[in-house]
């Protein structure tokens, strides 16, 4: 008999977005991984089928909602979906990318259905590999990178006799452990106290928009409340564009060195860059909140069990203009460290508490910017493939729940990639250009003169 489980906080976050935005498209995650080499597709298919057996999260399904709208998850014993081979080798790389982008827009419709599709692909310019399209409630990007590596280790084991990959942690066991931890009353009370204390100390947060104070003003007019501190989120037109900017290895090295020399994490430096920009374009507003995603993967089991473990928490800082750049960075680090300690909490409960306290209107938010810092590149880390050129690419699902979502990752040549996903109904590419330009100006001014005040930096950049 199958066991049925509640959803974890991270899964609930995606599930709630599907409910709020009324489309599963907001929960799609897709990636293509390929090698410039001939592949034995028969063997690759067998390895993909074996991966379905090894990596339990690929077999997760959700029940039909009950009368209260609640769903449960279970792990299907076997996945029987076909693993087709599509030949795109006659196209240009751009055409193939465009087609795969269309696949990434597809939705999984229904209850009790498989939520993971794998398609083997022959790509232009001699690349061959596979395209994975999944529901984010099953997996996050770190989980996908682990899966791709495991799959290629299986392939090289059977093809070249390399070592069989190490066992992956059992998804179901880790899920049970996570749910038990989430229901630990003592911990729950401690976490709630931490988040409640923050509201007690700072009061209601204040919205800050990439486009300045006019957005909040508009929301105030719409709701007929001149004291409103939250702004409306877009529910209908979710189309998203992606703009990538590449930071060269040399300046990247400077950012990394600054972090190392000052015992700072890159996430906190990036948060400081974004919040200073928001402050600058919002007339020096001191109280700024950014949603920051963290991946709850610390132990070996958490790293190799797959699943959706990425969750966002509001990083709220009140930083006066006279505070020095370095002091502001430590202030953010201090806030973030405390958040990490309480990151088992369900962020939906923080929102619920704010709605209760401040009567925040439905479908409004205090944040316009969301950040993910991803230190892990999508690379097949396999000695048998070291000399073979690789091509991998993430595809946006085309429906953004967030106004602006920035993913920062490291490239294999030592640079950094800043990938801005933005809702086109409200933002233009030019807004992203400004954001990136000023973020870099702020960060490099700050690391060059860490004793300079935030106010001076905002004036000078």
């Amino acid at each position: 008999m199958k066991d049925y489980y509640s959803l974890t906080a991270a899964q609930k976050m995606h599930h709630n977005w599907i409910q709020d935005y009324k489309t599963q498209q907001v929960s799609g995650v897709s990636v293509v991984a390929s090698l410039k080499a001939a592949l034995d597709f028969g063997l690759l298919k067998k390895c993909i089928q074996l991966e379905f057996e090894r990596y339990g999260c690929m077999r997760v399904r959700f029940t039909k909602p009950d009368e209260k709208g609640q769903v449960k998850q279970y792990i299907a014993e076997k996945e029987t979906r076909d693993i087709p081979l599509k030949d795109l080798s006659g196209m240009s790389l751009a055409e193939a990318d465009k087609l795969m982008q269309q696949w990434a827009y597809e939705t999984f419709e229904g209850d009790d259905i498989p939520l993971c599709d794998v398609t083997m692909v022959k790509l232009p310019e001699g690349f061959n590999g596979f395209f994975i399209h999944m529901d984010h409630r099953l997996i996050d990007s770190c989980g996908l990178v682990v899966m791709i590596n495991d799959l290629m280790q299986l392939y090289t084991h059977y093809r070249f006799g390399s070592e069989f990959p190490k066992d992956l942690a059992d998804f179901e066991m880790v899920l049970e452990r996570d749910l038990k931890k989430a229901n630990n009353e003592k911990r729950l009370a401690k976490d709630k106290k931490f988040w409640d204390d923050q509201l007690d100390a700072l009061g209601e947060p204040l919205y800050s928009d990439i486009q300045g104070p006019s957005v909040l003003e508009e929301a105030r007019k719409k709701h007929g409340n001149k004291n409103l501190r939250a702004a409306d989120i877009e529910l209908k037109d979710l189309f998203v564009e992606v703009k990538d900017y590449y930071l060269e290895p040399e300046p990247t090295k400077n950012l990394i060195a600054f972090c190392m020399n000052h015992q700072l994490s890159m996430t906190n430096l990036l948060l400081l860059g974004i919040r200073t920009y928001l402050s600058k374009v919002n007339d020096g507003q001191e109280d700024i909140t950014i949603q920051n995603f963290i991946s709850r993967r610390s132990t070996h089991d958490e790293w190799t069990s797959g699943g959706s473990r990425t969750i966002m928490f509001p990083c709220r800082t009140v930083i006066p203009a006279e505070m020095e750049f370095i002091a502001a960075a430590y202030e953010i680090q201090n806030v973030q460290n405390r958040i990490y300690m309480h990151s088992n909490y369900d962020p939906a409960l923080i929102m619920e508490e704010m709605r209760k306290r401040y009567h925040t209107p439905e479908h409004t938010a205090y944040e316009s910017c969301y950040l993910t810092y991803q230190p892990l590149p999508v690379k097949m880390d396999n000695p048998h493939l070291e000399q073979i050129p690789q091509h991998s690419k993430w595809f946006a699902n085309g429906a953004a729940t967030k106004k602006m979502y920035l993913t920062v990752s490291h490239t294999e040549h030592g640079g950094m990639n800043f990938s801005y996903h933005y809702q086109t109904v409200h933002l233009k590419e030019h807004d992203m250009e400004l954001l990136y330009y000023y973020m870099m100006r702020i960060l490099f001014k700050g690391i060059a003169e860490p004793d300079m005040s935030i106010g001076e930096i905002m004036e000078q950049v």
Binding site: S265, S295, S298, Q333, N337, R338, Y340, M341
Partner: protein, 79 residues
């Protein structure tokens, strides 16, 4: 009192060093490769396993295994 080996087994879940190879002067971040998130999650695990309540101000000062062990001994002694 904190069982040192039990403590090190928990540490080993977060890093590549085996419990028997851990030296008490090892630093969580520099020697064991803990990120800030790893370290904070690890502290939560300690609280649950040893049924102690850590003070946030104190834990942020902990750098090495020896310091963490000392903090745990003190907390359990007070209990």
């Amino acid at each position: 009192m904190t069982n040192e080996m039990q403590f090190k087994k928990i540490v080993a879940q977060y890093c590549e060093v085996k419990p028997e190879d851990m030296k008490n002067e090892m630093r969580f971040r520099e020697d064991l490769g803990f990120s800030s998130l790893d370290f904070m999650s690890f502290l939560g695990e300690l609280e649950d396993t040893f049924d102690v309540e850590l003070e946030e101000e104190d834990v942020l000062k902990v750098l090495t295994i020896a310091e963490a062990l000392e903090m745990m001994e003190k907390l359990q002694g007070e209990a």
